[in-house]
Amino acid sequence: MSHLTDFQIFLILSILKIAVVLVITLTAVAYTVLLERKLLGRMQNRWGPSRVGPFGLLQPLADGIKLFLKEDLMPMASERPLFILAPIIALSCALISVAVVPFGAVTRIAGVDMFDISDINIGLLVILGITSIGVYGIALSGWSSNNKFALLGSLRATSQVISYELALGLSLVGVVLRAGSLRLRDIVDSQAGHGLFSWNLIGGGQIIAFFIYLMAAYAETNRAPFDLPEAESELVAGYHTEYSSMKFAMFFMAEYANMITVACVATLLFLGGASSPFGNLLPTPTSPIIAAILPIFWFVLKVFSFLCLYIWVRATVPRFRYDQLMSFGWKFLLPVAILNIIATSLVLALRG
């Protein structure tokens, strides 16, 4: 590679990283759907999908083919450009935020960090910003389909996401205060000392912030118990009532991609990112390949457990009523998040 300039190497490696991460994320999205159906099935004492492939493992493929081959219906009275634009906004915003997630230890090849598409010093704010742009996908889809159920669903989704974004953002402030930086690598490094006991969740004293984040994140991604925007008993299917074929699939993928992003952020901020839970108890691997892969294994394991928690909550907790949802967000989560910030900064000020 000696005849390439630094910039060309950087460009090639970056494109390669983006392609690999995109493929892995999309596959993960497809298999999260399967995981959810399987786990929900077992929790409700039934099998879940089990016919396509061994243990139903090829079910996502079959679903994909089915959705591709379906007829793409377009309502007559819809706002055509916005109707097409809405799922694109939703899916691309959901996928972009993975770009700032560092999913392994710093491993440099030719000066480029391989396990991180872009290492920005405001990574956390970028994720929050992209999430707040993603609202437009839902808002526009409901409005442009010219359907009362879709409009109601999207109004619910928009107001819910705006309200819970406050609690979500405030719950992260404690973590940022501890790390003293908005760069995700710094936040991970601030929890790297003693394995499990230096994670923000346990040793950092951010356990309240974690639970605020958890609840706000469920509401942000429109998942049970806060899945009012698509409450099927009252709104048919909510904001994507009029969508079919791949446009519907894009909303569906966006929802699961958002779940994965939320799980990644929770892992980075509260569960120590790609660091091992055993700290220095495990021997340091001698082979460089194992040293590179082991952090990724921990990261994936944490994200996987967070996703399982998501599904477990969906199988367990019944749906909230709309006014309960709003008063819970504004009157409980928000004040507790503010109290958490005050307590964290007091502790930090007294110690430092």
Binding site: N121, L125, G129, Y136, L140, G142, W143
Partner: protein, 168 residues
Amino acid sequence: MQLALFIIFGLLAVAGAINFLLQRHPINSALSLIVVMMSLAVLYWSLGAEFLAAAQVIVYSGAVMVLFVFVVMLLNAGEEERTHGSRAAYFAGIPGATAIFCLLSFVFLTNGKAFGSTDLINHLTHTTNNIAEISQVLFRDLLLPFEVTSVLILVAILGAVVLARKEQ
């Protein structure tokens, strides 16, 4: 690279602003305003002000414009009717806009050096921390004006609550 970004997103911002004026449906206008704000954010970022860029996206395109779109959706505002506007706008508008443009460009061209230059290299290579500098200015040097501004916003919120409260 920076020049390319500036040209692309500067043009995008101008195109969005023109589209904002030409669109007849309020929701399309709101969406082009979002395009303008996002391109401004990219311009800030290319100048090394990444915190400002993120704040621009989160606050303006993420929160303020969502409320705009929300209200447009709720009120179900239709297409606006095209009127000829007032005659005063025709006579005062174009000369006024030209005058403001000339004044601004005169000020920027003559006093450009007096504005001082930012430490662009250090910002772009992350040797100086943007957020730390902003917070030092906001929470140490200019603490009193900052707190007074927050009280001002609180007053506005209280006013809205009073106006929206039901009569007993």
